[in-house]
Symmetry: C2
Subunit: 144 residues, 2 copies
Amino acid sequence: MNSNQYLQAAELHCEQRGCKLTALRKQVLELVLRHEGVVKAYQVLADLQKERGAAAPPTVYRALDFLVEQGLLHRVDALNGFIVCDHFECQHESMILVCETCGKVQEVDVMAALNGLRDVAQAADFTLSHQNLMLTGLCKVCRV
Amino acid sequence: MNSNQYLQAAELHCEQRGCKLTALRKQVLELVLRHEGVVKAYQVLADLQKERGAAAPPTVYRALDFLVEQGLLHRVDALNGFIVCDHFECQHESMILVCETCGKVQEVDVMAALNGLRDVAQAADFTLSHQNLMLTGLCKVCRV
DNA sequence: GACAGCATGTTACTGTATAACATCACATTG
DNA sequence: CAATGTGATGTTATACAGTAACATGCTGTC
């Protein structure tokens, strides 16, 4: 799926959920798409400023929040960053793998594998919500 | 284990690992211990300033980083905070459960339950390091 | 055209974290 | 004992992250 296709699908996705991928939101999403892997809010802000002159933090954060809410992006807490989710259509719980060495990220689905954790939590009288886990390790390339 | 016992054990633990729980580090650890649950760096900083007058962010961050490195604290990325680990002796991988409603945290061990995730990661050509997962959900009290 | 409701712009601020350099304390050793 | 090296701490300044609060603009509906 190329960038344009993605944007189109994203637009449709938003409409189906009863809200709009406005020009600004689309532009922000586009900026995020341009980067490989994790993008920071202030990076997006800088990019946005290049493209349209003035822009303040709230502008970017609001757009990013919206995109996260729609499932188009995932927030990666531990990195204060965001990544594109390329399977926003389906209900999923994912695990975001961050390589400690090169910083590359990938997302894998873990709906099933989470059950073990869910059981442990349940045993501690705790009910897990939907998760987007972030775990660290070594990617194929950096593993040597 | 009360606070004093913990501090003593912590001191021993550091020595065994070839480093020192200095007065400052001990004081910071004590300040963290005083709080239930998650503590923020700037909260600790404020407390520290009350006790010893001047103190700047790096002082606190260095101490906290040290304590995390020694396994005495866990960093909770998603909350920009820290919690005490009360079983720093043993090699463990834990899951930190954060209640979405009341914010209380608890730590549970998940060495075994992580294997499922490890397998999924391996299938994606990724080798997981040791983890301290943070997951959100509802605690016993807030679950209703 | 008036209004409601949402999106965006703007200002100012709070909170989180670190770089870079200065100084101190203490152990080692020549 | 003085010289030196090393790690801990102090200090200043700044970078980076996020939000509150209010102003303005846009669009659809009655």
